[in-house]
Symmetry: C2
Subunit: 477 residues, 2 copies
């Protein structure tokens, strides 16, 4: 099993580009020609030589982008022009929901070969996404060693450190010398084509430390590596959540992170680009959840599966619709309680929306603070107090302004006072809710990102209108 | 100028930790003891030996987190215990708004030395953040070579490829052999302590390609590097926006990216961890903008500067408050136009909020699609059509439901029909607006993330209520 994906990191010669490609090709950049259309025209023209030339200069990641934009009808011709190595790269780069489609265009033995070519982590990811019976058959067809690797990796949850790691790495015993280590690197060069470190292990497979290639390059051949090894390195257990892994890469600027079991034995390594993907995926999930758009598959909303997309978005809408019966009832209560004060009613949506807006600001700040480690239970008290001051300042500004509008509009001081006081109280209450609700969700182990979504905005909306009703009852009736 | 920050990537021995630190210390992880309190107690106890021990095992990134949580009163004692190298690391890791505070605790020559220790990109970043006269003095005090480097880097906008790059790198002429290259690496080992590649240049300083260290390690000493060099590498111009740079790292799984001028001459290199920071920063900015919380300094909302924070959040609130006068007027219009149909009024906030919710879903999907390259002008038509189908499905579901509630509540078929039809039309209109507004903002070069914020939600709110009013006029009067 060669290591094509991480190969891409340092070696883009494997896509046979000419020197004219020294400047990055971005097929999606505006202003350039439209590469999707170009590709479609080439397929339709049947000029396979030109098609091959066009495909051969593309980085696998660019090829994957083109495939995701290419109409499905053109897929078979393009797929038929790809080498197994290119199919393997393409499959590793494609978004999850398109891997299935690509697999359908391949014969079983092509598919097996493509998976064999992948790094172990990509192979496991692809197999986890394919339909169960097909995946089973493919695993059975893999050579013994690859099969064991993939089966080991598939045991870990996809969103854990174990699910991110790959087993390909170079390790040497701590008793080795520099030239023995270089021999080990040479012996594994085919298998592990990119390595930032050589891992040093003791006689029980426990990680002792890492050797960086620069140190190896500069050291005399007979030097014992025990004098070069860096012993204090970050490690991670395979059970750790992928979000924590990504945060470690981010905080400590890591390139690669060894994965060890409870007894310190080296199991594999995680590479920086996979950690960066997690970071993006998690930010994406949070954002989508905040918009009430989806939960676990941010990719989905960019596909053509309209029914599935509606299925993911509609529950949020129905939930807020249900919640909105309360504001509707409150408006009705206003109309019944203050039949001669119809001027009170137009301010209801204003106060409700402002509560929602402030609550959404506060909860977003807290939710993102959790995600990036800047907010914690440690500083809840301080955070609440700060939010109290900020929301009081903002509440007074908005309250005074709406009070002025109310008195100019209707000339009724009592109405104006009701509106102003309600606005101030509603904004403060919504801001504090915006802090407390995500904390509460985190405490009970629900993803706090939900707290920045439309559900909580609706709650803030209701609270704000409720406050308005209570203030109106107190001041006017 | 040594290269401490990127050093952290492979070498955490420079913070003198003992082997007990093999497992990552996360000072903010719940369940562990409270390291901020521990540090404060150590400072108050005056036990400097224990304080030194405590500090010495921390990674610079962890030390920076502790500093950002530590009360300012305790800073001087802790700063006084740090070596210049540690101060340098800490300053590079601290969030922008705290660098100033740290600088105040240092003597000018300490500050100069700390900046000298930094990688050129960090030095330029720190100097750009310090007050102008202080920064000028510090630059003047730097050794000639460092001064020129920093001045060169400061010419590039902070958010460009030039602003991200560092000038430290190892380059060799294309005529060199492997052992000459290793000598060049050795000569630069102090200056450039981490390198993933050696850059190969021609006699006019133009980049020819890269050598990876693994290839150097395995090749015989007398081999010409022209046989090993990888000639097709991604490069970037210094003027390119940092967001595009980060997307290149993400798409092509890069570790380092050479920066070249228009004539292909090598200027510097960008490292993956700085690109990852950009990715996080940009996602953060988008999220905050979507919540109407801030624009360019996502960090700010986590500081104690309540006045500044209120200043950043209030404009959004005031803008939506101004926008909300329109729904208020529309409610008033309902009350005037349909004096005997007060049952129409409670549905106003419901329809308005649903419009806002759907619009927020759509615009978030489009805005994030822009940011990650999955949506483009190329597929506007398809995207709009898809959104039309999805929103029609969701609109019918919500419309039928609210129509049923209306007829159960008031038994009036005309009211029920008005509510149902308005809901369907409002949801479709808001969804399409949610797609078109970000496209429009992008077309006129305004950050489309604003389109997913409260301003556009308010517009959707208004449109939805307007539709309700028009439908009511058509069906009822």
């Amino acid at each position: 099993m060669t290591d094509r994906e991480i190969n891409a990191e340092v070696d883009i010669q494997d896509h046979e580009a000419g020197p004219e490609e020294m400047v990055s090709v971005d097929p999606l950049e505006e202003g350039l020609s439209d590469p999707v259309r170009d590709l479609e025209e080439l397929v339709e023209s049947g000029d396979f030589e030109a098609l091959d030339r066009f495909i051969s200069v593309l980085h696998p990641a660019d090829l994957a982008v083109l495939f995701s934009l290419l109409s499905k009808g053109h897929w078979p011709q393009v797929v038929s022009r790809l080498s197994i190595a290119r199919v393997s790269d393409l499959m590793a780069e494609l978004p999850d929901h398109l891997r299935d489609d690509l697999a359908e265009h391949l014969k079983p033995d092509q598919l097996t070969e493509a998976i064999e070519e992948m790094a172990s982590d990509d192979a496991a990811d692809v197999l986890a996404d394919l339909p169960e019976p097909l995946a089973r058959d493919l695993i059975e067809a893999l050579p013994e060693e690859d099969r064991l690797e993939v089966e080991t990796l598939l045991k870990y949850p996809e969103d854990s450190a174990g699910g991110l790691m790959q087993v390909e790495l170079v390790s040497v015993p701590e008793t080795a010398t520099v030239d023995q280590t270089i021999d080990a690197v040479r012996a594994n060069a085919e298998e592990v084509s990119t390595f930032h470190f050589v891992y040093v292990i003791d006689d029980e497979q426990r990680l002792v430390g890492v050797l960086n290639l620069g140190a190896l390059l500069l050291a005399p051949p007979d030097r014992p590596i025990s004098e070069l090894v860096k012993r204090n390195v970050h490690v991670v257990n395979p059970e750790v959540d992928q979000e924590n892994v990504a945060q470690m890469f981010q905080r400590y600027d890591l390139v690669a992170l060894p994965v060890v079991d409870d007894r310190g034995r080296l199991l594999g390594r995680i590479l920086h680009d996979d950690a960066a993907d997690v970071l993006e995926e998690e930010a994406e999930e949070d954002i989508m959840r905040m918009a009430g758009a989806t939960t676990h598959e941010p990719e989905l909303v960019y596909t053509d599966q309209v029914l599935k997309i509606a299925g993911v978005r509609l529950p949020w809408l129905l939930a807020t619709l249900a919640g909105l019966t309360i504001p509707a009832l409150l408006v009705w209560a206003f109309q019944i309680s203050f039949p001669e004060m119809i001027a009170l009613v137009p301010f209801i949506p204003v106060i409700g929306a402002m509560g929602g807006n402030v609550g959404s600001q506060s909860s977003t700040i807290v939710v993102r603070g959790f995600a990036t480690g800047r907010v914690d239970f440690h500083n809840l008290g301080g955070f609440l107090f700060k939010e109290l001051i900020i929301s009081t300042l903002m509440g007074i500004a908005c309250g005074v302004l709406s009070g002025v509008v109310a008195i100019v509009w209707h000339g009724d001081p009592m109405l104006s006072l009701t509106v102003a006081v309600s606005m101030v109280v509603a904004i403060i209450a919504s801001a504090l809710m915006g802090v407390l609700v995500p904390y509460f969700f985190r405490l009970v182990k629900i993803d706090p990102a939900i707290a920045a979504g439309p559900l909580v905005t609706t709650i803030d909306d209701i609270i704000a209108i409720g406050i308005y009703y209570v203030v109106a009852l107190a001041l006017i009736s």
